[in-house]
Amino acid sequence: MPDFPGRINQMNMIEVNNLTKNFGDFCAVDRVSFSVPEGMIFAFLGPNGAGKSTTIKMLTTILSPSAGSMKVGGFDALTEKDEVRSSIGVIFQDHTLDDDLTAYENLYYHAVLYKIPGAERKIRIEKLLDNVGLLDRKRDLVKNFSGGMKRRVEIARGLLHHPKILFLDEPTLGLDIQTRNFFWAHINKINKEEGVTIFFTTHNLDEAEKAATRIAIIDRGKILIEESSEEIKRKSEADSLEKAFLKLTGYDIREQPADRVAIMRKRFKR
């Protein structure tokens, strides 16, 4: 557990009980339960279509579960959505920038929505844009950026405010080494200094091993194991996390399960 001054009580920042999400007869998340104590860096691993993003959507209040309960930041994510939203920050897996705005404007609107005081906005935005190497492009429309640059804007925006819990859905996907390096340094810093709880998903197992204190491996909507990476390796008798992961989830490549989820979701929405 990371050490940071001034926090002794370990309350759970995320508490999930029997969380379930069905899209028609397809069960994307199947009675999942876990908890994440305050100040922890928690990794959520799993093959494509395992239910990672669906879980994050439910935890961040933009998708309602079929069954189960969850508490985020001490608030009920079903009945106290506003309080939950005030406690969290999210970096989504897919593109969520407004392409018709400039890089600066994207961050600025985020700063306003997250109630960052007016005097601090400009300073913080310019610092983060500088951190991701885009300060001299701040007046350019995002639609003129390359995929990698867009991702960097997205990362900068996600780090603009410091919530109690930060959800990161494959945050480093498509990032260059420099930005990735900055990103993890920043995440570790806000985790250590401000006790921000981090919940992230990744396909990069080295990253998970390095950053996370605890790892949950999810497949076909179910959590297979939830331990430290050392324990996972020990229990599955593997000498690397990757081998343990493959032992647990199998060697089969999933037949486009992500598309299947999308199709089921579309069909059974509302």
């Binding site: 506003d82 985020h110 306003v112």
Partner: protein
């Protein structure tokens, strides 16, 4: 002041001003209507004893501009669903009501601006504003009408996911509302059943208000027009809020 509302408003306007094609495209249609119908039907209208057609038509085309452009404001929501920006706003710690109204007030501002351009074109073609003292209230009425139909478009858009079906369905809904509104011809000349439909159409009352505010002639009691507008905004504001609170992605 609600800052989330302000940024959403500002964003809609910035995007409109940056998209010159959209500006030109949305203005071309009403101006085409105004010019062709205005010049084409004027002599017939006069012969039929109904007076000056440009004077009749201009407020109607202003109403049309507002109706079409406001309802199509819902398209920006579909766009945001497709391109992901909606998620960014949905997880933010701001009320869904301010997200809805920010978008719709932004859309209404744009529509009102377009309506003003159409009025100017109408004046060039011989339309006479009957009382300049009523100009400011008339602009407010334009804005309220625009808000009503922005709320309609955005509420409906919250139930749609793809960019193809939304405009098609909208045209299916908006075209009859437009033709059955008295924008192009007086509804008192309509046969029975169509007159009933026209009187059940909220656009009719909005157009009537504009005809009074700009041209000085109204068909209905003004209070009824205003009542329809106010009730419409209140009802769609509530429906829209309800739908936005349940918006998922």
């Amino acid at each position: 002041m609600n800052s989330a509302l302000m940024v959403m408003w500002e964003r809609q306007i910035k995007e409109y001003l940056r998209n010159k094609q959209r500006m030109a495209g949305t203005l071309a249609q009403p101006i085409l209507f105004l010019v062709t119908l205005g010049f084409g039907l004027s002599p017939t209208f006069k012969q039929a004893g109904d007076g000056n057609y440009i004077q009749y038509l201009t407020p109607g085309i202003v109403g049309m501009t507002i109706l079409f452009s406001s309802v199509m404001n819902g398209m920006s929501l579909i766009w945001d669903k497709q391109f992901g920006f909606l998620k960014e706003t949905l997880v933010a710690p701001v009320s869904r009501t301010s997200l809805l109204f920010g978008r719709c007030l932004g859309g209404a501002t744009i529509s009102t601006f377009q309506g003003l351009i159409v009025i100017a074109v109408g004046c060039l073609m011989g339309f006479r504003i009957f009382n300049w003292a009523l100009f400011a209230p008339a602009v407010i009425l334009m804005f309220l009408m625009a808000l009503l139909f922005s709320l309609l478009g955005t509420s409906l858009a919250s139930k749609f996911d793809d960019m193809q079906s939304f405009p098609t369905i909208m045209n299916l809904l908006v075209m009859p509302m437009f033709f059955l509104s008295g924008a192009l011809f007086p509804i008192k000349n309509f046969p029975g059943i169509i007159r009933v439909l026209a009187r059940a159409n909220p656009v009719t009352y909005c157009i009537d208000l504009l005809k009074y505010a700009f041209g000085g002639k109204a068909e209905f009691v003004l209070l009824l027009d205003i009542l329809v507008l106010a009730v419409g905004i209140a009802a769609l504001g509530m429906i829209g809020t309800y739908l936005f609170n349940r918006l998922e992605t």
